[in-house]
Symmetry: C2
Subunit: 344 residues, 2 copies
Amino acid sequence: MRATYIHGAGDIRIETVPDPVLIDPTDAIVRIVRACICGSDLHPYHSKPAGNPRAIGHEFIGIVEDTGSAVHTVKRGDFVIAPFVWSDGTCEFCREGLFTSCLHGGDWGDENVGGGQGEATRVPFADGTLVPVPGITEDSPLLPSLLTLSDVYGTGYHAAVTAGVRPGETVAVIGDGAVGLLAVLAAKQLGAERIILMGRHQARTDLGREFGATDVVSERGEEGIAKVRELSGGHGAHRVLEAVGFMPAYEQALGVVRPGGAISRVGVPQYAEAPAGRVLFSPNVTLTGGVAPVRKYIGTLLPAVLDGTVNPGRVFDKTVSIEDVPAGYVAMDERTALKVLIAP
Amino acid sequence: MRATYIHGAGDIRIETVPDPVLIDPTDAIVRIVRACICGSDLHPYHSKPAGNPRAIGHEFIGIVEDTGSAVHTVKRGDFVIAPFVWSDGTCEFCREGLFTSCLHGGDWGDENVGGGQGEATRVPFADGTLVPVPGITEDSPLLPSLLTLSDVYGTGYHAAVTAGVRPGETVAVIGDGAVGLLAVLAAKQLGAERIILMGRHQARTDLGREFGATDVVSERGEEGIAKVRELSGGHGAHRVLEAVGFMPAYEQALGVVRPGGAISRVGVPQYAEAPAGRVLFSPNVTLTGGVAPVRKYIGTLLPAVLDGTVNPGRVFDKTVSIEDVPAGYVAMDERTALKVLIAP
């Protein structure tokens, strides 16, 4: 089969590799119907040292091709959503819904586990990882939206939930990437009254408005902070959803959060130390969020996707075949595409 | 009247100053019945530059001596508890209970406002600041416990509430000062099943056990972290209440918190930058807490104090007259006293 490997910074290759096989009785083999490229894939794309090529991609939906003898919740032919990490489903963290802290879980692309940007993959702990969706076929128009449940939509929702968004509140969303836009949608679903999207790519912020943003602030730094505070009654937003991960975004969050409010981060922090003393303490600001345990949210978010109430798949603005995945990385990196769908 | 002033590091003086007078119609004058010295008073005691003497003390209970024409909720002769900041009671933050972010509030010892460690003080915004307690007289045996509601008990409770302590959980409390010990009591009241107190002054940790600590860990650093993790099933405590404020205490908190858990800080951070990137993000740890809006909690905590169910006043292990307040600072600083009560 064909699969995507990263060999080093800027070096994405499509290779022919052996078809995946069952190793453990808890495994499944999934043929991948749709996958995509994540903003977080750009981090290794920018910085991976050369050597030790690794299968890449962690968002996919597909059809179960085979299962081990100990798999009970999915069977051959089932349509499934794969969260962006695999998890045993039985450890104390999985039982609490914190699948990202699974004691026996791991990442797509780990040894003997395929990446998401290929034609098929071995799935460890199929019962604890995959979420079957009955009635979906490979030609469903819902595929793009279902695919967002493997990462970006669940991640945006995690930001809104952990920040504690409540009806009537003002929410600021930092970042107009796919996660930021879906954090807007999530905040809207949780009843936020005013949703201020900070971003400056108009095509993206226009989509953000369709998802529920009431205001767009394109300014950055002090000017952007002043604008958000002005829009939120002078004291800032109750909840700030930070969907970037770089220090300026965190500093922006500190600037726009209201005393007693919360900053939820779902962009992977690209820093180790940060302002976190009295700047949080004096105004009683809570810092929350983290790696989203998206599997927990699939059941909650699925009904509105299935009945068409929401259409999170609109974040995809470019589709490539597997052979064109390297071009998809270029498009994401150069920001000519918001998010790239892969139809292997 | 006599009142306590700080002139510089280590320089606490008792001085004769004019009696306080009403300035605004929303003021009250309160005669102070009991006050105390706070761990946080030791920060200026260690580091205040010489010059610009300032009235000190921010925890007191007393009797209303006089009120301005616009004061409606307290009257002459009322017994009152004063929270450690004054607040208007009417701004948008006060209405939400975040009295520490009052738009027009301030600190005891500010210009034209007395400190708590004196015989009397002017109280701005008496309606928004003071909490009257009917039926209490100056010889009540409950005075020490009522005094803890002005700061330390409410601060410990804030740690437990903001951390989200729930019945059955494991809580680690870092610090065996008065706030840490009362955070233990608060965690117990909120139903924590296992409460691990990290501290190494046995007289204090013994009191912590009486307040509800099920375990005491006297080790620090990696050794202390290993011990707490061992006591909490290997993965750490659901809630960590950090009642110190120095970096080693924060690092300890990071080491003992369970994935998906929360660290609540109520010790004023003595640092600006801190590890706050993936160390929080990857395990989905929430960082919360802050300056406690204790006025919000007085109504909740008062009944169990009045009926004797709890006795938070046990944190006081030394009593001084006003003339001996400087000796009280020495005792707190040298840790020969846990917390010093002042009977002016």
